[in-house]
Symmetry: C2
Subunit: 278 residues, 2 copies
Amino acid sequence: MSLELKSTSKCFDGWQQRWKHQSTSLNCEMVVSIYLPPQALTQKVPVLYWLSGLTCNDQNFVTKAGAQEYAAKHGVAIVAPDTSPRGEGVANADGWDLGQGAGFYVDATQAPWSAHFRMYSYIVDELPELIAESFSVDPQRAGIFGHSMGGHGALTIALRNPEKFRSVSAFAPICAPTLCPWGQKAFTAYFGEDRALWAQHDSAALLATTKLAGPILIDQGMGDEFLAEQLLPEQLERAAAQSGQVLALRRHADYDHSYFFIASFIADHIDFHARALG
Amino acid sequence: MSLELKSTSKCFDGWQQRWKHQSTSLNCEMVVSIYLPPQALTQKVPVLYWLSGLTCNDQNFVTKAGAQEYAAKHGVAIVAPDTSPRGEGVANADGWDLGQGAGFYVDATQAPWSAHFRMYSYIVDELPELIAESFSVDPQRAGIFGHSMGGHGALTIALRNPEKFRSVSAFAPICAPTLCPWGQKAFTAYFGEDRALWAQHDSAALLATTKLAGPILIDQGMGDEFLAEQLLPEQLERAAAQSGQVLALRRHADYDHSYFFIASFIADHIDFHARALG
């Protein structure tokens, strides 16, 4: 596996970089961003994986969240992958909630999606290996977080892989995709009618029967235009109560679904992960 | 004068907003962004004007600089206007360094530019009046700052209007536009051969014969791809020495011309203005 540097910019004494590489799980060229804090020059640092939401690529978080300041402060790297496979040979759909930009962090089983849409394998296996062999990060101290569709990705991946991702948090996650229009549309396309597969990628369903050793942090804006129909945090809250999972679900008056909301609370999330990862 | 709200998002307990209005100086519809810190709910707050660089509109700074955190901390509003008049009836050029997105904060005297390109009047007179009558800001406590072309704008406008803008700082400003390709191209188009007009919009030329009561803060990345040919901070340094202006010109190894550089030092700038404006 090899990475090719696309750009690098000094940022808060560390480096914000974009790399491209040929992905074996996705069978296409991918772009991934990484922030390397200044501490990474002299030691292996903890690494956070950020999963973005619908329509995003690797750049939205990197340019808008203001995370680098706190990554530098705590000495953690942040990897921001794209949200789906990309390119001319990759299947797509007309809407912005399916296909390119909308991978939902699953391995699709249905044509035409199954040829490339294997974001679950990419995030859980391929990308962490690539990052560990290419940068000064400690793969034993990895956390995961994300926004909206990426919050769904972070929660489901952490719940299913607690040995690989030791801390998890989310902003306005899609908490129960099997119960909301975005999730039902995507899962129907990617999985067909296999409801057992659906349940494996629904964090509320997963959390009802399992729990993590550490707490989960979730921030949710109460002015979020997608809250009632698509996000359903009350489903996650109910499941956490059922399994005994410690869940800090913070509801914030007036905040919407945008990166202005994420930026407002990103410091808390990086602090949360840095404490968990030591 | 009336403003129409385009969007509003809660951000660091304040509000990040976009407004549109019909500009009399520019003779077209303009969009302007403002961040209102939480303190503006109960008192009139100091106000900073941010002038962006070539190709930017009102959104680049708002989404990428991470300024809201520090504006909220210090209780200052930040107004981010567009960089030129816009629209179908407005003159334009093929390049990205002239015409729409490249107003250079001057009042053009030459056709076809003179019909709309009056950014100097817009920033110095029209916009501050509009902001003062529409928001909870104190026009007696206004500062100005900017990046690249906007750094040029901030410096020239502050040097010529010290009673209106009581503090000034810049990131990687074009310090001597009469001596660099960007400035020469723009001033030739906007002013023709009237070199007296050119000199009125060159901060190094202005600073050689005048000085401000307070200090000027400038940050410059030494990995900036435009430093040697376009920015010429040494010209400003020389002029400051000549007039006795206190100038803190900080050179930072490796930093480039991007918003990753701006974000890295924005806290210092807002702190600088907040102290000056009391």
